[in-house]
Amino acid sequence: MAETVVPVTHEPTPEETHLRHHFATPEQQMDAATLGMWTFLITEVLFFGGMFAGYAVYRGMYPDAFASTSRYMNLVLGGTNTAVLICSSLTMALSVRAAQLSKRRDLILFLILTMIFGTIFLVIKGFEYHDKWVEQLVPGFNFRYDEAIQYAHNAQILFFLYFAMTGMHALHMVVGLGLLTFLLVQANRRVFHANYFAPVEMIGLYWHFVDIVWIFLFPLLYLIGQNR
């Protein structure tokens, strides 16, 4: 269903493929980069995994307190953000494709679109944080839980996790936007083409991973207790 081989018109020079001295072939370099990136993503999985473990333990302990937070979670903003991130993942995948096909203008277009979506996500997240602050739901700084006072203690655990997990996720988004800016500059300088697109693909993997984290955060933080 897909073209698996790029037609190569000439044997690419080491300069074109940015082949570093210690690699024998561009394939070896690309394989190493791919394996390295996936290894890094595994560490990221376990990094977030620590917080997911905390979430699982306390949700098991305090299901009602966790469910009671549903009235404070903005499903519309959360859902919109999920859609925005999914769109950014699509444009990221299209960026990689454009780079592979040496379509520089497409690459720049899709990178910009990805960055726009990423920025929209962060802006919406900022509004949500602002709402939480106004509603006094920030554990340790201003926390009131008068409507469901019986959960005033345990619900703080969920809100703490909410800020820790979404905050860490947002931090990854910011880093991702930085990396995309770097790609954009490079793309503008015509660095990427069919024989050299590893940075686009690697940063793409990172961006998709950040998307996956959100795919789990959305139901776990926004959708609990919506059934009551």
Binding site: T43, G49, G50, G54, F141, L161
Partner: protein
């Protein structure tokens, strides 16, 4: 001794990685794995000195039952010692120095897969170390290296956040080192260098890399949560809002137990190389030794709960952790038996690296066997949190890893610097370290079963004699570590030229010049023989 073939000093030293460029920029911006290894060697030596100095100081405090220093001082000293020795010395010790230097050479590559990430990892290490030093100069941290909540998150009046930040950053340095090794071993092997031809040192560091990559991020996040809790005064480990402090221990030991194997596996790899070389014999049961490294790496992740038998952890979970902990002892035992068997019908010489290997095998055996006491549920109850634990893990970490590190340094020093060190002095200091070590830590086993808790700045008077013995031992140990520092520095200028292969060892690293050139090999080597090829197989044991 017998086999050192000194070359006659030449008038002009050939171009090598050390003299190819000069000036501080050529070091701070280098991407040569060998230069980065040297940078690491210098930095971890400094950190080892700081951590060791703290240890000598608090051993002096323990000379009298009342304690010579204030409790605040003592608590900061042992915390400093633990944090520095674990995160800034033991974890990077062999991987970041010897393995960084040797893995590309041993697999026949010009460099690690990601040279710039390798340099980044050193910078991260330095930044982490600077955070730790900042913490010390602000007044130190008094939580112990384990940072248990809620003491660290709420009650401690010391500089927890900088210390945690330092460990966090150094953790990423460790992740990047591990990542680099994994990718290098997978993708950078020379033609013919199959997995079954890899030196065991590479196998053990590959297994270490897996642990670093899979475990360290969990440490990073649990320390981040502690720091957040300290800033917000509330958090998920806070019992006041229904949090469970034991959850922190789960997350902490999910990394920190495997980390114990980050600290010992590379040492095991070094011992395999040394024992083989100075017995002039292939390693007995190569496949089993290689496989046991992988088994240790995997099993190490399912035993963390044996640190929590008396915390109120579920007794059922404890039983599972107990049997799994016994199981992880099996691959370690396999290694010890195989090293011993390697010497059988060998041609053994007592060069300095081999003396360290003897020390390692003996002390690691004791350290490993006393570990069984802690895996054993009922017996862990009285010895948990006492000096028995302290003695046990120092037998493994110092008796094992530091011995291996010293052995490896003495083994590959001629390769790294091109110079030999004085044999007699090095043998004397190896003996001093062995004696000093045992005098320091053996009394602690007795103290532990007597009931002396760890992290006590004062103790009942009847424990004094054993504590004095231990302190006396620690000063001997300190002398033992200073001597090598002196003769290594001396040898840089004055040591005899070592030549390509002073030990007559097998292995790719001994076939290139000492010190190696920047790209290690003139042409990519083609490997067509097993590791440790000291001759064709002549005998098969039953």
């Amino acid at each position: 001794m017998a086999t050192i073939a000194h070359e006659t000093p030449r008038t002009a030293t050939p171009v090598n990685y050390l003299n190819v460029e000069h000036g501080w920029k050529s070091w701070l911006f280098t991407t040569d794995h060998k230069r980065i290894a040297v940078l690491y060697l210098v930095s971890i030596t400094i950190m080892f000195a700081v951590g060791g100095f703290a240890a000598v100081l608090f051993r002096i405090n323990l000379l009298t039952p009342e304690g010579l220093f204030s409790p605040e001082m003592y608590n900061r000293l042992f915390s400093l010692h633990g944090i520095i020795m674990v995160f800034f010395f033991l974890v990077p010790s062999i991987p970041a120095t010897l393995a960084n230097f040797l893995i590309p050479i041993m697999v026949g590559a010009k460099d690690l897969a990601f040279p710039r990430i390798n340099l980044l990892s050193w910078y991260l290490y330095v930044i982490g170390a600077l955070f730790a030093m900042y913490c010390v100069f602000r007044g130190g941290v008094d939580t112990g290296w384990t940072f248990y909540a809620p003491y660290s998150s709420t009650y401690s009046n010391s500089y927890v956040v900088p210390a945690v930040a330092g460990v966090f950053v150094a953790g990423f340095s460790s992740i990047l080192t591990g990542l680099n090794f994994i990718v290098t071993v997978h993708k950078m092997r020379a033609p013919g260098m199959t997995w079954s031809r890899l030196p065991l040192f590479v196998w053990s560091n590959y297994a270490t890399g897996l642990i670093q990559v899979l475990g360290t991020p969990v440490l990073a996040i649990s320390l981040t949560l502690i720091a957040l809790e300290r800033v917000a005064h509330v958090g998920i480990f806070d019992p006041n809002i229904g949090g469970d402090p034991i959850l922190f221990q789960h997350l902490f030991w999910f990394y920190s137990h495997p980390a114990v194997y980050i600290m010992i596996l590379p040492g095991m790899g070094v011992i395999s190389e040394i024992v083989s070389c100075f017995s002039r014999k292939r390693v007995f049961g190569y496949n089993f030794v290689a496989f046991s490294s992988m088994a240790i790496a995997v099993l190490s992740f399912v035993v963390w709960g044996h640190h929590m038998f008396v915390t109120g952890q579920s007794v059922y979970t404890s039983v599972a952790f107990s049997i799994l902990s016994f199981m992880v002892a099996v691959p370690s035992a396999i290694k010890v038996f195989n090293w011993t068997a390697t010497m059988y019908k060998g041609s053994v010489s007592f060069d300095t690296p081999m003396l360290y290997a003897f020390g390692f095998i003996g002390l690691f055996t004791i350290g490993g066997l006393t570990g069984l006491f802690l895996a054993c549920l009922a017996l862990d109850v009285p010895v948990h949190g006492t000096y028995f634990i302290v003695a046990h893990f120092h037998y493994v970490m110092v008796g094992g890893m530091v011995m291996a590190y010293m052995g490896g340094l003495h083994f590959w020093w001629p390769k790294m610097t091109g110079r030999m060190y004085p044999q007699v002095w090095s043998q004397i200091s190896a003996a001093i370290i062995f004696v000093g070590f045992n005098l320091t830590f053996f009394p602690q086993f007795i103290l532990g079963y007597l009931g002396m808790p760890r992290r006590y700045h004062a103790y009942p008077p009847e424990f004094q004699m054993l504590n004095v013995l231990s302190t006396a031992g620690s000063s001997i140990l300190a002398v033992g570590y200073v001597i090598p520092l002196i003769y290594f520095l001396w040898s840089l200028k004055n040591g005899p030229i070592a030549g390509k292969n002073p030990w007559g060892a097998a292995g790719l690293e001994w076939q290139i010049q000492s010190p190696p050139t920047t790209y290690n090999f003139d042409d990519t080597p083609v490997v067509n023989e097993e590791a440790y090829n000291y001759g064709p197989v002549e005998e098969v044991v039953g």
